[in-house]
């Protein structure tokens, strides 16, 4: 008697989510043949499977966009679908924000909003969006499995077979993570695909995790985010890149690393086969990367510098090059790149000894932010790349050396290492805006929006080095806040912050090697010349690749 009561209670009260999912699937199935739904029926499909207030992941990645599904969602009948809580890493397409203007969605948790950064700021100020939080990628992915699990995921893939197996192509990016969280917690997964085929080239997402597929009339949108035209690299960036190579990569012997996407790091990539070669550093630095397939790295790969690269996503035009260089990249049995943002972020966090990237503002404590009062670009992956992983336990030469510099007095066997977190940039950025400021715009923004936390990209206590054309500041060697402030002022050049430096203290820091100028590192300013770049144009990159790199049309400037 007791047994049957328990069994009855189990079916009625412990599988409500599964039952709800099944009833959503049943409603959707009326619009499908098998799993296939016609593009013209997609809005009705969404009205059938989405409930008001649902958490919805509309796959907007750093690069790949489920654009057909976002159009369809925008067109829903508001009496059926409204007040959604969007949980997506990228807010990239205008439609992503139109959803809030129209009332389809109300609340937003996200990680990155590159091209929509100005509009998202206006909408937050205007109260159009109820903001949960701005996350890092890994952090939002983590919350998919704890308290932000999607009820419905709208994803993008290259192709599907009729059972629903998906091939995501080189831009796998976030898809496996989104599907894992949704499908295994009673959610509904709808995929837009470029084509339906008899057999997919490889199975990136197994069919039993995919409930509906829609063939889009045009391929999903991918933004070429990681292409930096070598023609736009300045001599100042070349000088700064030489300082980084000789002042940080070489002395620490940094082999495992992640690069940000700015021109300064592109300059480093293009100097490895020239300046780096001359310094005899081949094989000693920059051999293993967590990195998107940056075209600027092609000359270093072709010159034998790079052994292995794992990627968050892909890059437009790099497909054939990657396929032909499978010793370097991760590829599937079909030969094309397999990227994975969650794994690559984890790799950057735990298996890389250095992150080097640029930012928009750095304050006197070394906190940095890409937020300005009119733009909220989000965090993306940089805070995870640019943070010391407190859970790391394996030693490596650069990690131990950095730990020793920070804390010379602790016994070596009990001393944590430190990840090298390097901020690189010119003292003045675009339109002569200074890189160094007394107070970050992010703080002003937090005050204006009554946020509990200012959106700091990289906290000062994680930053180990700042490199500008003025020199390298090693913050690991600073022993107190005053030294740290003067080390930062000492490489801030002729910005207000730089000109207010204590000249005597900066000179003492220089004598201790806390600040190293180009002349201290024996760098000839005449080498800061574009002839030092292994490739000086996109066309040079194509040539280095043996014609395998096919740049998107906006970069074909020859």
């Amino acid at each position: 008697m007791l047994m049957s009561t328990n069994a009855e209670r189990n079916t009625t009260t412990w599988q409500r989510h599964r039952e709800a999912r099944d009833s959503r699937l049943e409603a959707g199935a009326r619009l499908a043949r098998g799993k296939i739904v016609e593009a013209r029926d997609v809005t009705r499909l969404l009205e059938a499977v989405i409930r008001p207030g649902d958490r919805v992941c509309l796959e907007g990645d750093n690069q790949k966009q489920a654009d057909l599904l976002s159009h369809a969602l925008l067109a829903v009948d508001l009496s059926k679908v409204n007040d959604l809580h969007m949980v997506q890493s990228g807010v990239v397409l205008p439609e992503h924000l139109d959803l809030f203007d129209r009332g389809v969605a109300k609340k937003l948790d996200y990680a990155y909003s590159g091209p929509q950064s100005a509009r998202i700021a206006r909408m937050l100020f205007g109260g159009k969006i109820e903001l949960g939080a701005v996350h890092t990628y890994l952090e939002l992915f983590a919350r998919y499995f704890i308290d932000l699990t999607p009820h419905v995921a709208l994803i993008a893939a290259v192709s599907a077979d009729r059972e629903g197996n998906l091939y995501t192509g080189p831009n796998t990016e976030d898809t496996p993570t989104v599907v894992e969280a949704t499908a295994f917690k009673d959610g509904v997964v709808i995929a837009q695909v470029n084509e339906i085929v008899d057999e997919v080239p490889r199975v990136d997402i197994p069919a039993d995790r995919v409930h509906f597929i829609v063939k889009a009339d045009k391929p999903f949108f991918v933004e070429p985010l990681f292409t930096r035209d070598p023609a736009a690299i300045t001599e100042g960036q070349i000088l700064t890149a030489m300082l980084a190579i000789k002042g940080i990569y070489a002395p620490y012997g940094v082999r495992r690393l992640n690069h940000g996407i700015g021109f300064s790091t592109a300059a480093i990539e293009l100097l490895l086969p020239t300046f780096g070669e001359r310094l005899g550093l081949k094989g000693k630095i920059a051999t293993h990367f967590a990195l998107n397939p940056h075209p600027a790295l092609i000359p270093a790969i072709e010159s034998g510098w790079v052994q292995q690269i794992h990627s968050f996503g892909s890059e437009v035009g790099m497909d054939e090059y990657i396929r032909a260089r499978s010793d370097v990249y991760f590829t599937g049995p079909d030969g094309s790149l397999r990227s994975n943002r969650a794994f690559c972020q984890t790799a950057g966090l735990y298996a890389c000894d250095m992150f080097i990237g640029s930012t928009l503002q750095i304050d006197l404590q070394g906190n940095s932010s890409t937020v300005t009062t009119s733009r909220i670009a989000g965090f993306g992956g940089a805070p995870n790349m640019g943070a010391d992983a407190r859970g790391r336990r394996h030693p490596s030469e650069p990690w131990l050396k950095a730990g020793g510099e920070a804390d010379p007095d602790s016994p070596a066997l009990l001393r944590r290492g430190r990840k090298l977190v390097v901020q690189i940039g010119e003292t003045f950025g675009d339109k002569n805006v200074p890189l160094f400021v007394e107070k970050l715009d992010a703080i002003e923004l937090a005050e204006k929006l009554s946020l509990e936390l200012a959106p700091i990209m990289i906290y000062g206590d994680d930053v180990t080095h700042i490199v500008t054309e003025e020199g390298v500041a090693n913050l690991l060697l600073c022993r107190n806040a005053g030294e740290r402030e003067q080390a930062i002022r000492g490489v801030a050049g002729y910005t207000e912050v730089g000109r207010r430096r204590d000249r005597n203290m900066v000179e003492r820091l220089r004598q201790r090697g806390v600040i190293r100028r180009p002349e201290d590192l024996d760098i000839n300013p005449l080498d800061a010349d574009r002839s030092m770049l292994a490739a000086r144009s996109i066309k040079d990159l194509v040539r280095w690749s043996g014609g395998l790199y096919a740049p998107p049309s906006k970069f074909r400037n020859w």
Binding site: G236, T427, F428, N432, Y494, R499, L526
Partner: protein
């Protein structure tokens, strides 16, 4: 346009034997520096024609640091500036000294 002129004492004579050198180009955001070895060993002079008006204080700071770091004694610099940023000015001045200190020609 604005004309600026600076006269400094240098710690010592700039190295090398070359009599003159030129680096850079006059273009927006760039500058051209002509350097000539025409002054007594402890003197240094810089004459600037700049397209950007009102930056005298920044020029003073950039040139003060430059003279201290590179000790360009005996050199006279003629600068045509197209509104370059201070970091570009610093780089060109450093390049000019380095070039005149190189041997040959």
């Amino acid at each position: 346009m604005e004309d600026l002129s600076f006269q400094h004492r240098a710690r010592g004579r700039a190295g090398g034997s070359r009599q003159n050198a030129i680096v850079g180009v006059v273009a927006s955001g760039n500058l051209e520096v002509l350097v000539e070895r025409t002054l007594p060993d402890a003197e240094c002079r810089l004459e600037i024609k700049t397209a950007a008006v009102g930056f005298g204080e920044v020029w003073t700071a950039v040139i003060g640091d430059f003279v201290e770091r590179y000790s360009p004694g005996g050199l006279r610099f003629s600068i045509n500036d197209g509104g370059a940023r201070p970091d570009t000015v610093s780089l060109r001045l450093a390049q000019a000294v380095r070039l005149i200190e190189e041997d040959g020609r």
